[in-house]
């Protein structure tokens, strides 16, 4: 084998990314930098948006091939992110994140006022509105379902469903979902003020009743049995969410509870975020469809907020003014951001108004609600 200087320089040039970089990659690198800016400076859900953004960056550096599978004969290894991505593709990571979320979540406010669940159901409205419009815009049913789930305002659920129904839309949907979740404090307040009267917003709610430890322990078991029997396809999400919650409430497995909500969820978040971002290669991402998805995502968030508020108004009317409709918008999930928005808006109308605890009920109900919606869509189009 004889090597000349020219050969080597040529080889280096040929293997450099500069030789083959196209406008799509450049645009995507720019988008990655914007997302990093939003994650760090604007603090838009940084725990996921930062890894996602870095994944976008890595996936669009030409020739790095981090997402490329091994050759068919497995004679050499595939790319790093290809292997880490298997946990997304097989639906493992979202379930493990739900395990950690379950361990972090207190369902006490929901148990204290079970009618919160109605609000958590109503605030899934945007899922279906976005689904219908997406169908009208020509998306296939599985694609439309994945786009609709953005309105669930729940990241792991959206990733779980999209990875199964329309993996080619994964980056757009994940980025839209986490961005809009971060934008909840900007998206919801105008709608809340438009749909409710000052009088409604001023309503102070009675303090929630005490919830016993036993109720909290029985809750995850009952939810698992009932929901997974009614809708088996949602078992990986609801089952893990409730297992995590049982770790938390049982009080006898503090080690597991602690690991589920720290080391395990953090490791999985790093892998999930980076590889979901890495599915955003330029040719696939820079299509008109992506803009449509982003627009549809916003519509979904808006209609979910509207759905929750409208049922909140109905419940206010039915209970003779005991329910502040502002807690309805918290039903979109986006825990705990949406509940805090309810708190802030309530306090603006009435400085003595403290809705946070009351909004946490619909807020965590919204997590169950969007998982159920995802289960239905998976059953239909999976």
């Amino acid at each position: 084998m004889s090597i000349s200087l020219a050969d080597i320089f040529l080889m280096i040039w040929n293997t450099s990314g500069f030789a083959v970089i196209g406008w799509q990659e450049l645009v995507m690198i720019g988008i990655a930098c914007i997302l990093i800016y939003l994650a760090i400076v604007k603090q838009y859900e940084p725990l996921l948006l930062l890894p996602i953004a870095f994944g976008v960056l890595l996936a669009n550096l030409p020739l790095a091939n981090l997402m490329m599978g091994p050759p068919d004969d497995h004679s050499s290894a595939g790319g790093l992110l290809y292997y880490l991505y298997q946990g997304v593709k097989l639906g493992i990571y979202p379930s493990l994140i739900f395990l950690g979320i379950g361990a972090m979540t207190d369902f006490g406010p929901l148990i204290a006022r079970p009618s919160s669940l109605f609000l958590g159901a109503a605030a899934q409205l945007g899922i279906y509105i976005a689904f219908i419009i997406a169908i009208m815009l020509g998306f296939s049913p599985p694609e439309a379902a994945s786009i609709g789930i953005i309105g669930g305002a729940d990241g792991p659920t959206a990733i779980f469903l999209t990875a199964k129904l329309a993996p080619e839309l994964l980056p757009a949907i994940a980025i839209a979902a986490y961005s809009y979740m971060a934008l909840i404090p900007m998206i919801q307040p105008p709608i809340m003020r438009f749909l409710t009267s000052k009088k409604e917003r001023e309503i102070e709610m009675v303090q929630l009743r005490e919830v016993t430890k036993l109720e909290k322990i029985v809750f995850p078991i009952v939810v698992t049995i009932v929901v997974c029997l009614l809708l088996p396809s949602v078992a990986p999400l609801i089952g893990m969410l409730m297992l995590g919650n049982l770790f938390r409430e049982s009080g006898v497995v503090e080690r597991l509870n602690n690991t589920a909500q720290n080391a395990l969820i953090n490791i999985v978040t790093i892998f999930l975020g980076t590889t979901v971002g890495a599915t955003a290669v330029g040719q696939l991402f820079l299509r008109p469809e992506t803009l449509k998805i982003i627009a549809l995502g916003l519509i979904a968030f808006i209609f979910s907020t509207i759905g929750g508020l409208l049922l909140g108004k109905i419940m206010c009317w039915v209970t003779g003014g005991k329910v502040n409709p502002l807690i309805g918008s918290a039903g979109v999930s986006a825990v705990p951001m949406a509940a805090r928005v309810s708190q802030i808006e309530g306090q603006k109308a009435n400085p003595k108004n403290f809705l946070l605890m009351h909004a946490m009920g619909p807020n965590v109900a919204g997590v169950i609600g969007s998982a159920v919606a995802a289960g239905f869509l998976l059953t239909m189009f999976g």
């Binding site: 006490g108 148990i111 079970p114 109605f118 899934q124 219908i132 049913p141 809708l231 509940a339 159920v372």
Partner: protein, 117 residues
Amino acid sequence: MTLGDSLIVSLIGFSVVFIVLIVLSALIQFQSLVLGYVARSKFQGDRQETLTAQVPAPEEKALMTQRTDTVDTGWSAGELRLIGVDEKTAAMIMAIVSHESQIPLSELQFKMIKAID
């Protein structure tokens, strides 16, 4: 898929969410009713019994301490025990600090919450 089909699917899908969550809501209310009576007396009795049967005194104490801690840290409905500060404000402050610092509430320890204004 036609628009009509998508409307039907959506109607059904939205109904499914409502049905499942209404069923859940009913079950929780039922559960609370049943457990409400039994809970405090029976459950705690049972537990203490097991403990005394199995272990000598010192460990029981350690166990109790541990358990109380767990109970106190959540900010759920009725478990907030606040001293010298407005309950609602404290709850809000704790939730916000927890969210911003990315530390679950169960891991935060608030020694004192004092009003500045």
